[in-house]
Symmetry: C2
Subunit: 205 residues, 2 copies
């Protein structure tokens, strides 16, 4: 008889990284994905047409608008957004399957999307990235956009508005230095692996 | 006008490391204290006599039994234990002062002590150390004790009983390899510094 005690993760971690537009979320997510091989990403559902080389179920689940709307009605979409007249959403079943199999998943969501996911999954871990300054946010929005100053100003106001949701998240991380932000999220991910609510002890009895 | 955004810790972290007798808590605490200079330790109150070189307010607050009992009655003792007929406890005021000044504090408490502290401070971060096996726990109790096999057996049962409280803690850390346990707690401490509930953003308005 072995009396080894094992700590077992009974539920996968759903790690959500979000923040206002222009905070540099994509660079952080890309760096996190390169660093971890024990965390999967969630495949989104979209109604936009596949681009060359995109595979259904790998890059996205490609669905028609009718199908997408049926999925919403059936409660199969945890959160969604409309962008350029196309739906983008997070499907419920694959995420629940991974969570129940103890697989950790990294999600890249908008602020609104992150908060609506938290409603369904109170155990999800929500990280809010904040910019080091208003100027840094503006600069990133400028660099990205080809639109007029006026459009950028509107986006800037929207992004600033999103900052008000920061305190509905679990953790705040400043994205000033990319490596520092990634290391902060790494510590959060590591710590969450030890959270009692997701574990059980095997071998005490 | 600077538009720098600052994340400010409005409340110090109260980090409690605990676990059953024989789990090797002291080595972990000592290693943590050597690693961090931004975390203070809490000075306990005791009724035992000072040993040579011990300074009141540094090593312990030395009090008489009458004084200690008055502190208990006044709600000034957050948790206490009686060991070899002497009181040992955690005083409330210095801990609250440090927390309110944003100072992070590391506390070394018994399982019961940790749980009663959590009652007063729901924001305290409780880490439970678990042994890698029943044999490891027994070995440590044996090494330490000069008592009979029977006494050790009783201690062993008490320690095992304490394992049942593990899930009332926030985090579980296995103390198999000391360095690994210390690094796990380091990640927890680091992550907790980013927890929204302890922060505010300076500069958004």
């Amino acid at each position: 008889m072995s009396d080894q005690i094992k700590i077992v993760q009974k539920e996968g971690i759903t790690l959500v990284v979000s923040g206002p537009s222009g905070v540099g979320k994509n660079s952080v997510i890309t760096a996190l994905r390169e660093r971890y091989n024990d965390i999967r990403h969630s495949v989104s559902v979209t109604t936009r047409a596949p681009r060359a080389g995109e595979i259904d179920g790998v890059h996205y689940y490609f669905r028609t608008k009718d199908e997408f709307e049926r999925l919403i009605a059936e409660g199969e979409i945890l959160e969604y957004d409309i962008y350029c007249d196309e739906y983008y959403g997070t499907p419920k079943s694959p995420l629940e399957r991974m969570r129940d199999e103890g697989i950790n998943v990294l999600l890249d969501l908008t602020v609104t999307g992150a908060l609506s996911l938290k409603n369904s999954y109170p155990n999800a871990v929500l990280v809010f990235l904040i910019p080091p300054s208003e100027a840094a946010l503006k600069e990133r929005l400028f660099h990205r956009a080809t639109e007029s100053e006026e459009v950028i100003q509107t986006r800037m106001e929207e992004a600033w508005e999103e900052m008000n949701s920061a305190f509905e998240f679990d953790y705040l991380v400043m994205n000033d230095d990319l490596l520092q932000a990634v290391r902060d999220i790494e510590a959060i991910y590591w710590a969450e692996k030890h959270r009692t609510s997701r574990l059980f002890i095997d071998g005490t009895q």
